[in-house]
Amino acid sequence: MTDPCTPLTRGQIAERCAQDIPEGWFVNLGVGVPTQVADYVPEGREIIFHSENGILGMGPAPAEDAVDPWLVNAGKKAVTLVQGAALFHHADSFTMIRGGHIDLCVLGAFEVAANGDLANWTTSSNDRTPAVGGAMDLAAGAKRIWVLMEHVTRDGAPKLVEKCSYPLTAPGVVTRIYTNYAVIDVTPRGFEVIELIPGMTLDALQAITAAPLVMAA
């Protein structure tokens, strides 16, 4: 099929997601595109970002000449601290994650199933070294899991599916998905579309989605 409309860029997906995070939430952002969500928090809204390696109150990347080699994020990139930040060790950091203290975790995904199953840690399709990091802890432990991803793979294969074909990160945890075409909730009725980008239709979205979509009431 041909593109019926101009899909959002990754930055625009992150920006759309950021609008929905209320003031006061403690938020963990996954490595990659989800990290960009922090760049789009509306002016004046206080959201506290958590990094699994022991930071609450993580700020943006520093200027090149102001890098502190002792401060990195989960992706091992240099970061800063905001006023009010706190530092702690790994057992405390994962107490926050596994004990349900983190309000929201935004992750990327290879696949999300209509029942909220998340597959985002391995595709098992090559001999790359297996690595899981904190993905399973976040997926099982955060109060909410939102996924931010392109609607289809680079080859055009659907990433919203009836059942994940890749090994799961956690079953039944995803509650919302932001893609380059739509915002979708995972509900007892399955995938419920709550917003389409201009020019996109439910039929056109269904054609690139491997599980039934319904329009939210």
Binding site: N53, L87, A91, R98, D127, A131, V132, G141, T169
Partner: protein, 223 residues
């Protein structure tokens, strides 16, 4: 007088072949490369190492220890991006136990706290659950995970005194204070050795009870 200050070679004394060694750090931050290099030089082999990442730079630290063939098994959450590990893993020359990062931290914490095992929701419904006991509490399934304990923990801290009290810097705590509690012998490389009392009691993160040996990290290399 209690004095836990050691020279680098003396700090490695008694580490035997077949030991289990915890190594702190998250990526390069808080990673005790000075001690890991001394362990490489000391020569103990057939090691099991417990470490979050397998390192990148083959000149130093964990990758060097791997390249020297000293490691039989690695217990790790994220061994990706480590050419030294990849070579061994693909050649079938190293055993890998992959552990979700929070489960890894909690297994170490439990080892230090005398808790032999615990239940966690992390890994339920995934390949991590293979072969593990599952129990239902309050309607949710949990996996049983076993504590980790080591013969030796190698850690990095910012400041330390002769009683072994330690404080840290930035995101350099990560696994270090947790591993300090879970080994028979805990060895810390510290950037500044200070007098007793210079680390205010309120600021001590790792009390000296957990620490056996501290080694001065070369000042010229410390920032």
């Amino acid at each position: 007088m209690i004095d836990k200050r050691f020279s680098l070679p003396d700090a490695m004394a008694g580490i035997k072949d077949g030991s289990t060694v915890m190594i702190g750090g998250f990526g390069a931050v808080g990673q005790p490369d000075f001690l890991v290099n001394a362990l490489s030089d000391q020569g103990a082999g057939d090691l099991t190492i417990i470490v979050n990442n397998a390192g990148w730079n083959r000149e130093t630290g964990v990758p060097r220890l791997l390249d020297l063939g000293r490691v039989r098994k690695i217990i790790c959450s994220f061994p990706k991006n480590s050419p030294a590990f990849d070579d061994l893993f693909r050649a079938g020359k190293i055993e890998l136990e992959i552990v979700p990062q929070g489960t890894l931290a909690e297994r170490i914490r439990s080892g230090g706290a005398g808790v032999p095992a615990f239940y966690t929701a992390t890994g339920v419904g995934t390949p991590m659950a293979a072969g593990k006991e599952i129990r239902n509490f309050g309607g949710r399934d949990y996996l049983m995970e076993h504590a980790l304990h080591a013969d030796v923990a190698l850690i990095e801290a910012w400041r330390g005194d002769r009683w072994g009290n330690l404080s840290y810097r930035g995101s350099g705590r990560n696994f270090n204070p947790v591993m300090a509690t879970a080994a028979t012998t805990t060895i810390a490389q510290v950037h500044h050795i200070v007098d007793l009392g210079d680390i205010a009691p309120d600021d001590v993160v790792t009390p000296g009870i957990y620490v056996d040996r501290i080694v001065q990290f070369p000042v010229e290399a410390s920032t």
